[in-house]
Symmetry: C2
Subunit: 219 residues, 2 copies
DNA sequence: TAAAGTCTGTTGAATTTTCAACAAAATAGG
DNA sequence: CCTATTTTGTTGAAAATTCAACAGACTTTA
């Protein structure tokens, strides 16, 4: 846990929390660190969402798989970010998604009940955490708006360029890496992988794009 | 305002608020009622989101329009529901959507700053409202997950049937009305209107569906 | 009630996507 | 360092979507 203190201090969930308090707070919250391997499932569709997860290292993806086995990647969660918080806050009985590790690492799981209810020690930070959570969940709403904007585009080309422009903006640079391989990007954009590859080839030939593996440059 | 008290008491935003308190609370919050006409824009893309809206009567749609004029309907907001709350909570400088009335009615606008900050009178309900907001925003996240599930389907037929099944489930009945005309439904599902119409015709001929105007029955 | 306007369903052609299959390139593991 | 596996790019054919155009049904309003 000690080695992640710096990360946690900068995590939006703990914004405004005194550095000294952080450790005792984590104890009060009943937080626990869980290591995981690549491809491991951290939260299964249908489960009850009692905890939220903070990615301490590695990365995870939020995925849905429909009746016919089509994978839909809803989002990618990087170090310092949260997952499952919306389901916990909404107190859903059955989460509609699975969380799968894309890179091995460690998660900090925090029982939501401990965040929500003022505890026996009358810790003062619950109010702050709830405020932070509200802002985080609201910000995720914005991300969903963005993603809906991508998926509502009609062609692979439009989806792809809109996605790449968003990434460039997010990274404040025309050169950036994406957290997906080709198949994952296709599942994220809701398009066919081969069509995506061929569209990338076309853009390369048109000279608007350079890419190698998951590193891209817009020209 | 008086005539909407019953509605507001059942509004998730005011869950747990004492009936007597409601009136004085609304005053303390600086809430104001605004009437609007059909097709009127209630919130414009690019604005700062300082207020959230509660639909008292009528209904509104959350829409995005891209560079080429393609309309994307993100959601439909009915009586008693909220809009703009996520942008207010996330304190965004520029909302990425517009809110347009689909039916004339009235809105209760509430400045978010008044909800968030404990007021001079030290009203006790701020904590409760924040909790309610958190749950509401988290629940909207779930709705977005659903919509992403729809949009990630590859064919018009799949999107349409998934949407109709969701509506049937939501209404707990195979007979239900939808809040969209054909063009709006197409813009909601991200498909071509004529293709949607023709798919509906096909389903009718297959005998799996009956529909007239915006009333549907699944067989 | 008539006229104007809007909404819906149909059509066929052009475009785009999906699907399946394969080979080259890259990666991982022993 | 070599082999097995995974990832990526390409292809062509089949399927589906989009687009534009139009006519009939339905609404609105004058």
């Amino acid at each position: 846990m000690q080695k992640y203190l710096e990360l946690l201090k900068n995590c939006p969930l703990f914004l405004g929390v005194n550095d000294d308090e952080l450790i005792s707070m984590l104890g009060c919250l009943g937080a626990r660190v869980v290591p995981f391997a690549k491809r491991q499932t951290l939260m299964e569709e249908g489960e009850q969402a009692k905890e939220l997860g903070v990615v301490l290292s590695g990365s995870v993806q939020i995925v849905q798989v429909d009746y016919f086995g089509n994978r839909n990647i809803l989002s990618d969660v990087e170090t310092g970010e949260l997952f499952g918080e919306a389901f916990a806050c909404a107190e859903v009985q059955s989460v509609p998604i699975s969380v799968v590790a894309s890179e091995a690492g460690e998660i900090l799981f925090i029982p939501y009940a401990r965040i929500e209810a003022p505890c026996a020690n009358a810790c003062g930070f619950h109010r702050q955490l709830i405020h932070n959570l509200l802002k985080i969940v609201a910000a995720k709403n914005l991300l969903f708006h963005q993603k809906l904007g991508l998926l509502s585009k009609r062609t692979t080309r439009e989806k792809l360029t809109a996605y790449l422009l968003l990434q460039a903006k997010k990274n404040k640079s025309n050169r950036f890496s994406i957290p997906f391989d080709r198949q994952e990007l296709a599942d994220y954009l809701g398009v066919d992988r081969s069509g995506l590859s061929s569209e990338l080839g076309k853009m390369r030939r048109e000279g608007v794009l350079r890419c190698r593996k998951n590193h891209f440059e817009l020209l």
